[in-house]
């Protein structure tokens, strides 16, 4: 049985979080010691010596009140700013991150690599490379928690949430479900395997199921007859999906939206929610016809349809369709 008092630092953010923790610990220790010491000292020094004694009242002191409000306030603003900046980095994945898709359900984690590997309750990743998780749940709320990475994100049904990390130390780390999700909540865990890049490549090529995610997505795209409408030559009454991913799309109500994973998921499951400018809301919903994993494959397929231009052209997709 291993016993430790402090968790390993296995991601690029771990050390940052720990430094923040030490700052907070220092502040907390300072105030705890000051207050405990003061109480102890006063309690002994001014203990009651006779039952009739009556100390002189002291009604207060404005300067003191100001001092002991302003100093804690200043310190707490440091905590806030520092904490927020760490958080900001924790939440914003770099553009080149390796995408992994996560579907949670009672009580297991289903993970898919773009290369097509699927894993259950286990995730293999290379060391030193940012990994971005796009996650959703098939039932209740779960939470993806890797203590060694100091990261956690709830996985919410009906939408995507994301998290990312860069592992810095090869090894095997706990994966926990941190949001209570029913009977087997505490069993909904697994392991993250952080591997040297070459080991990772070897793992990827070993026992690979034939098709990549995008290829599976393409099959689905045909089976679900998406292709009947969304023709790649731009004919038909539907927007061409080529090069869609990452662009800004102009909507019928005049607003624009970035074509990210969430948008494409919504386009498939709730097509009516955001109508592309210039088109009729004629796309049927595929809710119930395609699983969350299928949706992720479709997304990966759409992604594969065009280069990911990052910022994308400002014009978006509205023009090329039939107008």
């Amino acid at each position: 049985m291993s016993f430790r008092l402090f968790p390993v630092e296995a991601s690029s953010i771990s050390a940052e979080v720990d430094q923040l923790l030490f700052f907070l610990l220092a502040v907390a220790a300072f105030f705890t010691v000051v207050i405990f010491a003061a109480i102890l000292f006063f309690a002994i020094r001014y203990r009651r010596r006779s039952d009739n004694e009556l100390p002189r009242p002291i009604h207060g002191s404005i300067p003191l009140e100001i001092v002991w409000s302003v100093i804690p306030f200043g310190l707490s603003m440091v905590m806030f700013t520092w904490g927020a900046s760490v958080f900001f980095r924790e939440r914003r994945p770099p553009d080149n991150a390796l995408p992994i898709y996560v579907v949670a359900k009672q009580w297991m984690w289903k993970l898919q690599h773009p290369e097509g590997q699927r894993e259950i309750n286990e995730l293999h990743i290379p060391v030193g490379r940012p990994v971005k998780l796009t996650m959703t749940s098939e039932d209740v709320i779960h939470s993806f928690f890797v203590p060694a990475f100091r990261t956690k994100q709830d996985v919410v049904p009906g939408r995507y949430t994301t998290t990312w990390f860069t592992a810095i130390k090869p090894g095997k780390y706990h994966l926990f479900c941190a949001e209570y999700c029913g009977n087997n909540h505490s069993g909904m865990g697994g392991w993250i395997y952080v591997m040297e890049p070459q080991d990772y490549e070897a793992w990827l090529s070993g026992g690979t199921p034939g098709a990549t995610l995008a290829e599976n997505g393409q099959k689905l795209f045909e089976n679900l007859a998406c292709a009947n409408c969304h023709k790649s030559d731009g004919t038909g009454r539907c927007p061409d999906l080529t090069g869609l991913f990452g662009k800004d799309v102009k909507l019928a109500d005049g607003s624009t939206v970035k074509a990210d994973e969430g948008y494409i998921r919504e386009s498939i499951l709730r097509p009516e929610a955001k109508i592309v400018a210039g088109y009729q809301p004629s796309m049927p919903t595929f809710q119930g016809l395609v699983t969350e994993e299928g949706v992720l494959q479709l997304i990966e397929y759409v992604k594969s349809l065009g280069p990911n231009p990052g910022a994308g052209q400002a014009e978006g997709l509205a023009a090329p369709g039939s107008r």
Binding site: R91, R92, Q153, T161, T162, T163, V257, K258
Partner: protein, 99 residues
């Protein structure tokens, strides 16, 4: 301690308020059929607030009430505003940056 001063309003005052309320109801219903874009919400809620003020000030006698009563009413509205605005601080900014 100030007390609620006994104040009997005339039937006429009440009747005028009542008629005003009915007119406002008709107005808000009518305006709803005119396309004002996003302003239709603004107009509808403005009229609703006016109606609320009429009912509160006259029928509920807030007009003649103590400061404390007025404070209670304002406090209630302020708390409602806190609930709505901080909740929307999340939902309205979901698409801003990151998750």
């Amino acid at each position: 301690m100030t007390t609620e001063t006994e104040h009997v309003d005339s039937v006429k005052t009440y009747a005028v308020v009542w008629i005003a309320l009915l007119i406002l109801t008709a107005l808000t219903t009518g305006v709803a059929y005119i396309d004002l874009g996003p302003f239709s919400v603004v107009v509808a809620l403005t009229i609703a607030v006016c109606k609320m003020l009429l009912v509160a000030l006259f029928f509920m006698h807030v007009r003649h009430s103590t400061k404390l009563t007025k404070l209670v009413v304002l406090g209630g509205l302020l708390w409602l505003a806190i609930l709505l605005s901080l909740t929307m601080a999340d939902f309205a900014t979901r698409s801003w940056i990151g998750a």
